[in-house]
Amino acid sequence: MSYPDLSVKIAGLHLRNPVIPASGCFGFGREYAQFYPLNQLGAVAVKATTLKPRIGNPTPRVTEVCGGMLNAIGLANPGVDYVVRYELPWLANQDVPIIVNVAGETKAEYVEVVRRVCASGLAAAIELNVSCPNVAAGGMTFGVDPNILQDLVAAVKEVCTVPLFVKLSPNVTDIRESALAAQAGGADGLTLINTLLGMQIDIYRRRPVLANKTGGLSGPAIKPIAVRMVYEVASVVDIPIIGMGGIFTGEDAVEFIMAGASAVMVGTANFTNPLACPQIIGEIEEFMRKQGIRSLVEIRGCIG
């Protein structure tokens, strides 16, 4: 049987395969390069970058829950100038496309960060993080109002010289509205889902486990919600989708592709198993081989 073709074309990007470590779960790539060469990956989505450096929320800011985890990192990052100068160049040398996740508190900040990232020439694509539940200003507020979202995307699109992905929040009544707003604003693609807002209580200390009280829920627990949302969004938009939420195995990834995603991102699984991404790539390939699927296009959105 011939070797299945895992490559995907998405919003003008050519990826070796559809597996991309998710933003915030892979740093700027350095840490996982000790486990495998990063050019095995389809692309790498790096940690959210903001205009100014941010130290993030107080700790504890991660905790485990059944089938997942909560995080309230709070967009900790060294700021766009540092990222562009000291983080991206190393990663750009690893022969893997870089997707730079961008966050901000104001429209102007988003625009400025995207401008600087694009100017560096190091990003293959931008992922606009309008859905982070862990910061007081900005972040999710952009993600839950379609009008504000469309306006933000349009403003960013004007300065964005690479494909622009918008990362949608699942904490909404109808994610199709957000998706259509992002598309109307000029997004070249969508990534979904970000985390769902959750809380865990330490009943012996009588207080929330996370210092920030609430945090974003990720991991296998959210997979059915994520698959449903990818399916819903795929049925209303024309732009490609990168799906994520609880992907731990190749079979999980195939679920997202059948729901309509062109590629997938893997977050929490990297923590459970640092080799998660290459293993998932291998499992997708094995599934394709066993099922006689030559290209992922054959099964993308196949459940109709």
């Binding site: 130290i55 700790t59 504890p60 800011r61 089938g67 995080n71 929490t268 699984a269």
Partner: protein, 253 residues
């Protein structure tokens, strides 16, 4: 890495010592380093648990843990022959003191295990090693035999049921009043203990190193979950890769 449980023993109520063998870079282990252990094999537990390396030989490593939640409970229920999925050795350990330095080791509760390996490592080199260990009560005392072989040992308990009644700072203070002095202090234990220790030595010419704990997700520096603040509170340091051991004047305790 998959390591096999070679031995598992109950040291004190809820405290277990587990020895693991199998392919692991034992020789590179530095005192203060830790491993991240996967809990279960399914998807219920997605975060590994950080546990310090308490002892190491050429073909095994030993950890000591207290059952505080689901993950440590599961670990305590392992049997000889079971396999554990382990990542490590992780982090930066305690730097060795110079030859013939005067060393104080201070441990509290479950901060004691990583100091065991430290004590063994520096015993040969250091001039004299004083060890002060604090526990809540006699039933919580662990590794005291091991430490008594490593140097001059003082044990305190909160309730006086073993050793001296009181906390470790008081014990350190009376050692100093009785003439002991140190150039290097190594400590691991609850944050308030570390904070008080740093304050106690604040005006003295002592190099202090503390091992910190925080909830961790990745254990390798990627998630920024496990940070502490730098002394001036302007920056964060990742405990898993920049630590867990820090010079105490570099971090905000």
């Amino acid at each position: 890495m998959l390591l096999r449980v070679k031995d598992i023993a109950n040291l004190a109520p809820d405290i277990w010592q587990i020895t693991l063998s199998g392919d692991f870079p034992y020789k590179t282990v530095k005192p203060g380093q830790f491993i991240m252990i996967r809990i279960g094999s399914g998807k219920e537990h997605v975060l590994r648990r950080p546990i310090s390396i308490a002892a190491v030989t050429e073909q095994s490593l030993t950890i000591v843990l207290r059952v505080v939640g689901r993950g440590t409970k599961w670990l305590s229920e392992r049997c000889i022959g079971d396999l554990l999925d382990v990542l490590g050795p992780l982090g930066r350990g305690f730097p060795s003191p110079p030859q013939d330095a005067k060393v104080l080791i201070v441990g509290g509760g479950l901060g004691v295990p990583p100091l065991w390996l430290l004590g063994e490592t520096i015993q040969a080199e250091a001039d004299e090693v004083d060890v002060v260990l604090g526990f809540r009560s006699q039933r919580d005392c662990i590794l005291t035999d091991e430490f008594s072989r490593l140097g001059h040992l003082v044990v305190t308990t909160d309730d006086g049921s073993f050793g001296i009644k009181g906390n470790v700072i008081e014990a350190v203070d009376s050692l100093r009043r009785s003439g002991h002095s140190w150039e290097y202090v190594y400590a691991c234990g609850p944050l308030p203990m570390l904070r008080n220790l740093k304050r106690y030595f604040s005006n003295q010419d002592v190099k202090g190193y503390v091992s910190l704990e925080e909830h961790m997700a990745c254990g390798v520096g990627a998630c920024h979950g496990c940070v502490c603040l730098s002394e001036d509170r302007s920056l964060t340091r990742r405990i898993c890769v920049n630590g867990p051991v820090f010079p105490w004047n570099e971090v905000c305790l």
